[in-house]
């Protein structure tokens, strides 16, 4: 079953095209990592997939289960007076239609996801007082409230220390093992190769999509290893 289908997509912003002819299909339970250099159009692709900007050409089809988005942190959020509970509950809004207040179903769902991410004990704490790793877990719980099908993580480990990063990857792996599709934009090539099932590599002049094994044999991966080797020397 496909949860995300991208068909001959051209992306760009303000009329400027940054990447063309992107094709891929993500099936339920897969773990896709989107990698590539800065400026190659990764963040434009993210915004297009999420529906924040319109594609120049082609289509993006999202499955009926929707997307649970874990965005990069903004300055506003770092000093935002809100409790963990308030934030996680706000993930339920898309399913509420025109009803103004949360029902007990939504409160239960939020509780379940907070317990799953082990943030239930800190539900009445202020978000701005949490550590970076705790904040990411809160946002994961919110994303799970928005979708039980697919999570979309945008550079989720930026600014986290190695130990917390490791824990975070393991948590995501656990979520994935329960059948939830993961799409992760990442700088961290090592982790991408360790955890993902598929890779989408975007570069200025080439786009690769395939399974991890196919990727390891591809020109893109060979190039990256060559660059890495050079840097090591």
């Amino acid at each position: 079953m496909s949860v995300l289908k991208v068909d001959s997509l051209d992306i760009g912003y303000e009329g400027k095209t940054v990447a063309t002819n992107i094709d891929f299909e993500v099936k339920k339970g897969e773990y896709l990592c989107i990698v590539g250099e800065n400026g190659a159009g990764k963040s434009t692709l993210v915004k297009t997939l999420l529906g924040l900007i319109k594609p120049i050409k082609g289509t993006v089809e999202v499955g009926s289960g929707g997307i649970g988005y874990l965005p990069q942190q903004t300055d506003i959020q770092r000093d935002f007076p809100a409790t963990v509970k308030e934030i996680v509950l706000s993930g339920c809004i898309s399913g509420m239609g025109i009803r103004p207040f949360y029902s007990s179903v939504e409160k239960k769902k939020a509780k379940k996801n907070m317990e799953l991410m082990s943030v239930w004990d800190m539900r009445n704490k202020s978000y701005r007082k949490l550590s970076g790793g705790q904040q990411q877990r809160v946002l994961l719980a919110r994303a799970l409230c928005a979708s039980q099908d697919m999570l979309f993580l945008d550079e989720p480990v930026t600014g986290l220390d190695p130990k917390v990063t490791q824990d975070f990857y393991e948590l995501v792996e656990k979520i994935n093992s329960e059948g939830i599709t993961i799409i992760m934009v990442s700088h961290d090539m090592e982790a991408a190769l360790k955890y993902s099932s598929h890779i989408l590599h975007i570069d200025k002049d080439s786009i690769f999509y395939g399974t991890k094994d196919e990727y390891l044999k591809s020109d893109e991966a060979v190039k990256i290893r060559a660059v890495r080797k050079k840097e090591d020397e």
Partner: protein, 281 residues
Amino acid sequence: MNAVDTLMFYLQYSFVRYAIIVGVLIALCSSLLGVTLVLKRYSFIGDGLSHVAFGAMAVASVMKITDYTVLTLPVTVVTAILLLKAGQGAKIKGDAAIAMLSVSALAIGYMLMNIFSSSANVSGDVCSTLFGSTSILTLTDSQVLLCIILSFAVIVMFVLFYNRIFAVTFDENFIKSTGVSADRYNLIISVIIAVIIVLGMNIVGSLLISALIIFPALSAMSLIQSFKGVVICSSIISVLCALGGIIISILAVTPVGSTIVTCDMVVFIICFLIGKVVKLS
């Protein structure tokens, strides 16, 4: 006569009671969206809008419209929507556009009042529009009624959309990614702001209305950790400051608007210091 007697003496007059009712309602409404405005970096929109409202008021007085709100309300609401659309494009350009708009509205408003005014005391009129010095004490029954209706509309809208307003304030992109139209809620927020500004001009004038929106929110934010708590706390602070300010202005014969704003400022400084001390300990 001691202070209580003086107060009781003034409370016999309906215009004083009207002033207190209107003042408290406006203070309550203006504090509700303050948090959203501050956190979404929309403060400057409030400022720009109030200047536009001043311009509209000047036009209304030139056109001899007795109830200014008839003109100022639609003009301010439309401007709020336009500013929001402009701000969504490029942030810096939006900033400059608002600065241009607000000084233009001020300049043209003052010019119109000077050229066309039949009143003998033009600078007095301008001063009371900018600082609201006397307008709150000259409210007519219909103005009070309009103010009550609009205030209730603002409060009902805020309560109904509270969860959405929170979500859009905290993380607009997340909400958009779930397929909810965040732009619609931004629109609702800016329309409510426009209504609040037009209301607030009656009490503190167009130059000081931003203070009524921003100060209580900032005070509450330095003390309280939850969004709901901040909203409740800032409305309490705002209402108390308005009440205190009006009473002080009656007793000490000071201008109403600036007395309320001074109260808000003092409370903010106290809250800010308490917040700092709590953080350190």
